[in-house]
Amino acid sequence: MSSARTHGGELERGGAADHALRIEHLEVAFRIGRRERRVLSDLSLAIRRGESYGLVGESGCGKSTVALAATRYLARNGRVSGGRILVDGQDLLSLAPRELRRLRARSVAMVYQDPGRALNPSMRIGRQMAEVFEVAAGLGGRAALERAAEMLARVQIASPERVLHNYPHELSGGMQQRVVIAMALSMNPALLILDEPTTGLDATVEAEVLELIARLHAELGNSILFIGHNLPVVARVCDRVGVLYAGELVEEGPAASVFADPRHPYTVGLLRCIPGYGTSKNQGRLETIPGFLPSPGSSGGQCVFAERCANATGRCRSEAPPPVDLGGRLSRCFYPERAPALPRQGATPEESRAPPVPRGGAQAAQGGGPAAPYAVSDGAAPPILRTRNLSKTYRVSGKPLQAVKGVSLDLWAGETLGLVGESGSGKSSLAKLLLGLAAPDAGSEVELAGEPLPALADERGFEQLKSLQIVFQNPGSALNRSQTVRRLIGRALRLAGLFGRAREARLRELAASVRLTPRHLDEKPRQLSGGLKQRVGIARAFAGGPRVVVCDEPTSALDVSVQSAILNLLVDLQAQQGVSYLFISHDLNVVHYVSDRIAVLYLGRLLEIGPAQAVFAGPHHPYTAALLSANPGLENRGRRRIRLSGELPSALNLPSGCVFHTRCPRKLGSICEREEPPLAPAGARHAIRCHIPAAELGAARPAAAPPQDAPAPGG
């Protein structure tokens, strides 16, 4: 490492000691090919002792690079090309290897996104945790294990002794992340860096881990650098936040004020992209941020956000704005006061290129009014897709694993049915059964437009295949990396029976309908961004003119600004073509936005199904109530969360009676353990599988203005 500005460090040590982390004018460059690309420029931030600081941005903005630079773990082709980093008062860049090791052992700890990869799979938890104390604190085996158990108790693991004897794979993702956090905190570091610690976790688990982090922060008083892409999540944990865009800190300030009153157009755009609590497609389109993130180091001499900013003026394109102090907060914008009034999109460059889309009455419909294009049959017309008693039992070393049990659903033409549930709930298994990628158990029925569907895709005719298509979760895996976009979509057009010139014409039309330009047709997937790849996946699904499209978490791998564009596209295509969606997601706000009806799945059972508003407004199944309260939306700030006790039971060993009784906060008694409740009506087209009568389930979450510290229901 190069920089050796130790003299300045000595002089300022007095001031720097108040900060757990202080970064001054940091520049980091990566060598790619033969060129140096600057990925962070003029980045300054300071985290006071005991403060929690959130760093927010979309992928590619340089968030992780900040974390790596702050621990001097940059990849080999990266280097700090300017600025200083002070950790716990020490100038990181001038430390000798020995001192650096000591600093890493005692002063900084890091928690990464994937806890499964942070733990050694061949070592028991106890051994791994004891090692920290043995190496860093010089404790002996017995004492080290005791300290490890203490740490586990501290992160609210109920039976530390048992967990110490477990191997990492025996623990769930949430438990693993607790263990990693316990390990990170074991030396009581001055600075704890959390790099997207909850991104891979389910909503209810995420809520628990966030709560834990906030509590530990209050108890132990370590400084926290929390890196995330999800603004509401970060806002929940942090005192102050910084918003990173293209390697620059564009806005910084107290969490509450940045989110309530953002002063940089990028922050404004990001916040507007997220579907709010209880918003629906009937109320209008989602906001997007047009354009693309500039490639690292390419926008010298102008504002990095100018190309995508509706407020940009000539000055923004000829001059890079310096950070402006707005009284306790910063914005790197010439016109911070204009940011809140950033024009809403009606005709942004990207959208105006799109073909006109009929959205009859969508804007007019406020709240309850039934908007025409999404009006759904009340059961008079036959459903387009119908399942009865759909079940799937896998065999895992001889033992039955019931992934889906007795699911009966109807999907009408032109409607969206949202499917919600945590991982392991059977959402994806259900999708596979419908598509014919797995064969259901005997006795299951699937009908498409009144005709029974053969179990497997290989047995289905072309007509049936093209009527039922899927948009996959991970666009990287869904597209064959050795084929061009033209070929990827073109092969799917064979289903439509098109060849030669007609096929090429239809291909261009299709590409245009998902807003791909002809230039993209000759590119391969790795040349496309995540959002563009997902558009190709959507074009492929729509190639044959499908009647039902299964959307399997189509936006969960994407950034929020891209997510909103993809959701808009899906909604537009539905309005144009009258296609039905089975929309799977774990993000309740996204599901509510796109769905007409919502079904809640838990351990393969349908626990609740009903119109989207009814499911959100109540009465709720106790599980739905817990899911809704785990929603990290800003609306949930200051409200008590419904806590689910225990872990998701194994599908190999399902609970008797009601599958939810082991974690239910409103369990009645032995009846829940003995008898599986029926799916009982709870309102118009709304049904709940619970022994508690619908009238008593009540609206656990009043839809009205959030009361402060509302008491947890049933508690």
Binding site: S59, F292, S295, G436, A457, R460, L468, N480, S529, L532
Partner: protein, 290 residues
Amino acid sequence: MSALSASAAPPAAAARSRAAERLHAALRSPTLISGAAILGFWILCALLGSRITPLDPYADDLLATLAPPSAAHWFGTDQLGRDIFSRVIVGARDILIVAPLATLLGTVLGTALGLAIGYVRGALDDTVSRVIEALQALPLVIVALMALAAVGTSNVTVVLVIGFVFTPLIARTVRSAVLIESELDYVAAARLRGDGTLAVMFIEILPNVLPIAVVEMTVRLGYAIFFVASLSFLGFGIQPPSADWGIAIAENYSLIGSYWWTVLFDAAATASLVVGVNLVADGLESVFET
């Protein structure tokens, strides 16, 4: 790092030329360059053969048998007085025909077999995989020797036998890559538009496992050269009157105590060819990984 790899948001021309990037990486890899130089030298020898030798490699000179290296005979002469330098140059030809053909045959068959068992799975995979494991427990040279003893030895049978012996080895490598590919969603997407098993295997999956097969092929080529030389040494490979290195070593190894030059240069030629091929294999592997 992850932040960087994900940052290719504008799909501009920067990303366009992956082939050019790879070529560039290849040209900068010292491993690949040195391997290619060695291999190129021997290929040149094989192509030009007796046209570039200083003396006739097949001419006896009974007055100058077992002469040590000198200005007239740089590598000395053998028992029949033939010029060893010339024979080493010409000796590259047969092995550079037989070994690559055998490897190519093994790669083609092995890739097809690996695709089939990796994609179809089930009973086919179980059966074939067990057979492959059983074969791998046997010493391959012995298997090849017995087969050649049974069918008779010629360049064609050597190619076939080594090709068949390599097939299961390559099939295993390809199979494991296919298993990973089969789990990816694009395979499901292909099935959902009605593609048949063969179309999925050869049109969808094959292009993505091809780099692995190519690297495996170059690795196997090194083994094949060694394999052919061993068989020739044992008398079951390339047959006289070829100036093959393995045959030369077999003819002269009893003289090694007093007439070292009759063995050393042929052995060194074999070794250098194997090393050259392995350097190319290593270089290719790292280029494909980038």
